[in-house]
């Protein structure tokens, strides 16, 4: 699409926005895949509409404040990229646009506070634990909590599992087939430490030596995808130093983290760390993708009782990283496991980073829709590759009075190996 964006004035990062706009042909193939278009049914809440709005803002034809509500509505799920026949890199565009628009943006005080709290608490396991404790208290006095903060209180778990820090390494069992470094994750460690352990155990069992580098921290994806580029870079810098280069891959277990780390190259575009960031991004693999490509050394033993499992594509795995076949291959390697596919598989569950904190109503509508589609498969267990989705689904399934278990794909494998599924 023709545009009049002053690309030169935007500097080295300009093409991250101008190129996707130029390659959009406005065909509309993205519309049915967009969760906000499907639920809100208005052009400005579609990827095609948002591209138009960003184009006009960049061209100086539209005030950014007017476009902002519709850009804020975007979950950043990138389902539009999967649907797009023209290869528009919408994720690059919205991330960069948000990063620019957030600088100096004025928000109502309560909204700002909520956002700051979410962005500072979630990436820090210690703070998150503290928040969860105060959250249990806050729930009791919910009426007294400022309205803007209530969604946060509602999202905090009833109680957290006991902390179980990961060991420094998981030695490969049998012949060593690969050596990888594992991202422990931040909020995942607090909400469900078992996922990291399951990844370590399953990889080790398949001949992969797993190291958990000291000094690592939050990958910065939450901040990056919410438009806080400076905050994201600060967090990511720590990981640039922590993760070694002499590994076959850097393994992520949360889809959001994996997609964020794969974007490190563009996060540091034009900065001194660009080369190192691009290299780390190139080594990053989701655990399911890595394991399926490597191939299981031995399939888990057949299940004693057949299980019906529905797989839910995490957007940041399926759309942002284009990993859809690998987790299904791993799950179907388990004899006795029947894999079920929900309707509207491409549609986001509404979790989407801190979206469910900032836009709770839309998030809940999408979450309920996803939960209903999953239940309609007749599954007795849900597998997915992202802690955000798993948490969102647990809540929505409970709301519908069908609290069937939700597990990370790698936990399903782990339990199959230990015959506890």
């Amino acid at each position: 699409m023709k545009h009049e964006i002053p690309v030169e004035e935007l500097g080295v990062r300009g093409p991250l926005m101008a190129d996707p706009i130029a390659s959009c042909v406005h065909c509309g193939f993205c519309l049915p895949s967009c969760p906000t278009y499907v639920t809100m049914g208005e052009e400005m809440d579609s990827p095609r509409g948002r591209i138009f709005l960003m184009k006009e803002v960049l061209e100086g034809k539209l005030e950014v404040e007017l476009a902002q509500p519709y850009l804020d509505n975007c979950l950043g799920c990138q389902a539009c990229e999967t649907a797009c026949p023209s290869g528009v890199r919408y994720g690059d565009l919205i991330t960069e646009f948000r990063a620019r628009a957030e600088v100096g943006r004025k928000r109502p005080r309560a909204q700002r506070l909520r956002r700051e709290l979410a962005l500072r608490t979630l990436p820090d396991a210690r703070r998150f634990r503290a928040a969860a404790k105060s959250g249990a208290l806050a729930r009791k006095v919910r009426g007294a909590v400022p309205k803007a903060l209530r969604p946060m209180v509602d999202l905090l778990p009833e109680r957290l599992p006991a902390a179980r820090p990961l060991p420094p390494s998981f030695p490969a069992q049998g012949e060593r087939r690969a050596r990888v470094a594992l991202l422990a994750g931040c909020v995942q460690q607090a909400l469900d430490p078992e996922i990291g352990w399951a990844a370590g155990r399953v990889l080790a069992r398949n001949g992969v030596e797993v190291i958990v580098p000291a000094g690592q921290g939050c990958c910065g994806s939450l901040a990056m995808h919410a438009g806080d580029a400076a905050g994201a870079r600060k967090l990511a810098r720590r990981n640039l130093g922590a993760f070694p280069a002499d590994v076959d891959a850097v393994i992520t277990t949360a889809a959001g983290c994996g997609s964020g780390m794969r974007e490190y190259g563009s996060l540091f575009l034009g900065e001194s760390e660009e080369a190192a960031a691009t290299a780390l991004a190139g080594r990053t693999r989701d655990v399911a993708e890595f394991l399926a490509d490597l191939g299981l050394a031995a399939a888990p033993p057949a299940l004693a009782h057949p299980r019906r499992v529905a797989y839910q594509d995490a957007c940041h795995l399926a759309h942002a990283q284009q990993v859809t076949a690998a987790p299904r291959r791993l799950l179907t390697a388990i004899e006795g496991l029947e894999l079920l596919e929900p309707a509207e598989a491409e549609l986001c569950c509404g979790s989407a980073g801190i979206y469910n904190v900032e836009r709770p109503a839309v998030a809940a509508e999408l979450g309920e829709r996803k939960a209903r589609n999953l239940l309609a498969t007749g599954a007795e267990l849900i597998a997915s590759g992202n802690i955000g989705c798993l948490t969102q689904l647990q809540r929505q399934l409970a709301n519908l009075d069908h609290p069937i278990p939700t597990l990370h794909t790698i936990e399903v494998l782990d339990r199959a190996y230990s015959q506890t599924l």
């Binding site: 042909v25 509309g28 193939f29 208005e42 095609r48 138009f52 006009e56 007017l66 026949p85 023209s86």
Partner: protein, 480 residues
């Protein structure tokens, strides 16, 4: 009368809100900007307002208000028109129908479905699938385009070779005429007493009003389907193979040709793993298993006789879906090859396909412009995709000149300027290639009989006569 001052237009939008539409009357700059173009971004126009309607009664009420106030309107579904059919009219409103997306009923015995206009084409087949039925017309944008738009443009699609166009599948419809009157046209069967009003409405490009409900014909899902792919060393030879298949009395359900550039675009996009060559011919057969088996053997023999290279056929639903996804994404996929394109929609007699393609090739080469070809070969419906970079000085004008030359060529060869995308804004200047001043005058008279105020999608298909009210002409390339 058209509103020129803010106060008047505000009074008008306030009166729309008062119809119970409230915040579904969109007027902010950002809201209006999003509706400025459809899938032909060379035309862009901010509307006066966008009204997101949710029922037929609301459409009628809004149109009546427009009629009273003299404000032009255009209906919009998913905004996928390739001829600027749903681009807003200056000073007019957009009536967005996409939320009217219910399949109201499916009657498997009568083989009909009654739907709202905002239903996505593919959703009709999805709703009918449980009964072993499907909705046949399949525009390449069927995963997103709506029945209302299909109806307004008499849309075709790859499988129309055997099944016919949209008009052959619309049995009846309920329409809001440009003065707000609601009428029922046609019925539930293919034959009616009296004039074929539904047939007249279908393809009117919104000039006769807005369809708010359609009764669609459904067809049985065939027992067996086979899709064959054959490569040729030239487009001309592939075109001859098509003529040979039809000449032998065979009626495949679809025959499509893609050239090397179109194949390249599809491979960059959805990776259908087509065999590579100068031209790819896709032939699909459907029907009873035994018949399809027999016909496939005959088609394969004809393809070999016509000198094809690699030839393969499949019945696998997954493989077939990927073949069609590649074909149906081809327009948008050329976004991988060039920042901008114009897709043309000319038709030539099937027997002159080879000649037309050779000439298009020459015309493109003459100007140094790349042209990708992907087309419904069985119908002689060409879709040359003229690739250009709008950032280059004069590029869009050169591309438009080439497009005009190609349309003139199609008419010279005994064909037409549009097969299925419609005239819209884009080709209305070329109508005179096909029609005399008297013909066009008759069309204008007919339109004025239905819409004397010329408020229904003015400026599309027909150039408003000088005597008619001014404006209604979207700005070409004004803000695109």
């Amino acid at each position: 009368m058209r509103y020129r001052c803010n106060m008047e237009s505000e009074r008008f939008t306030t009166s729309l809100r008062a119809l119970g539409l409230g915040d579904r009357v969109l007027t902010s700059d950002a809201q209006l900007a999003a509706f400025g173009s459809d899938a032909l971004t060379a035309f862009n126009q901010r509307p006066l307002a966008v009204v997101v309607v949710e029922s037929a009664a609301e459409v009628a009420a809004v149109v009546r208000r427009c009629h009273e106030a003299g404000v032009p309107f255009v209906a919009r579904g998913s905004g996928t028109s390739l001829s600027g059919g749903s681009v807003p009219v200056e000073g007019g409103i957009v009536i967005a129908l996409n939320r009217m997306n219910r399949v109201l009923s499916v009657d498997p015995d009568a083989r009909i479905a009654v739907v709202e206009p905002g239903v996505i084409n593919l959703a009709v087949s999805a709703a009918a699938a449980a009964h072993g039925l499907a909705y046949a017309p399949d525009p390449s944008s069927q995963s997103v385009c709506t029945i209302g738009g299909n109806l307004a443009f008499n849309s075709g699609g790859a499988h129309c070779l055997k099944h016919g166009m949209t008009a052959n599948h619309i049995l009846g419809l309920r329409a809001v005429l440009p003065d707000g009157e609601v009428v029922d046209l046609g019925g539930e069967s293919t034959e009616h007493v009296g004039p074929d009003w539904a047939g007249m409405f279908c393809g009117c490009e919104g000039l006769f009003g807005i369809a708010v409900e359609a009764t669609l014909r459904l067809v049985p899902v065939p027992e067996s389907v086979r899709t064959a792919l054959a490569v040729f060393d030239s487009l001309e030879r592939a075109g001859e193979a098509v003529a040979a298949i039809v000449g032998a009395g065979l009626v495949p359900v679809a025959m499509e040709i893609m050239d090397a550039l179109a194949i390249e675009a599809a491979e960059a996009s959805v990776k259908p793993a087509y065999p590579s060559g100068a031209a790819l011919l896709i032939v699909e057969l459907e029907g009873d298993e035994a018949v399809v088996e027999h016909e496939l053997a005959a088609v394969e023999a004809l393809l070999r006789e016509a000198g094809c290279g690699e030839l393969r056929a499949t019945a696998d639903p997954g493989e077939r879906a990927l073949i069609w996804k590649g074909r149906k994404s081809a327009f948008s996929a050329v976004g991988w090859l060039a920042p901008d394109y114009i897709v043309q929609d000319g038709v030539v007699p099937r027997t002159r396909l080879g000649e037309a393609l050779r000439e298009i090739d020459r015309l493109g080469a003459e100007r140094g412009i790349r042209v990708a070809n992907v087309f419904h070969a069985g119908d002689g419906n060409l879709h040359p995709l003229i690739l250009y970079d709008g950032r280059e000085e004069g590029a869009v004008e050169r591309a438009e000149e080439l497009a005009a030359d190609i349309l003139a060529l199609c008419v010279d060869l005994g064909g037409s300027i549009t097969g299925e995308h419609g005239v819209g804004v884009e080709k209305r200047d070329h109508m005179k290639l096909m029609f005399s001043a008297e013909d066009l005058g008759l069309m204008e008279d007919l339109r004025a009989a239905v819409d004397p105020g010329r408020l229904a999608n003015p400026g599309k298909m027909l150039i408003p006569p000088p005597s008619a009210s001014p404006a209604a002409v979207p700005n070409p390339a004004a803000t695109a």
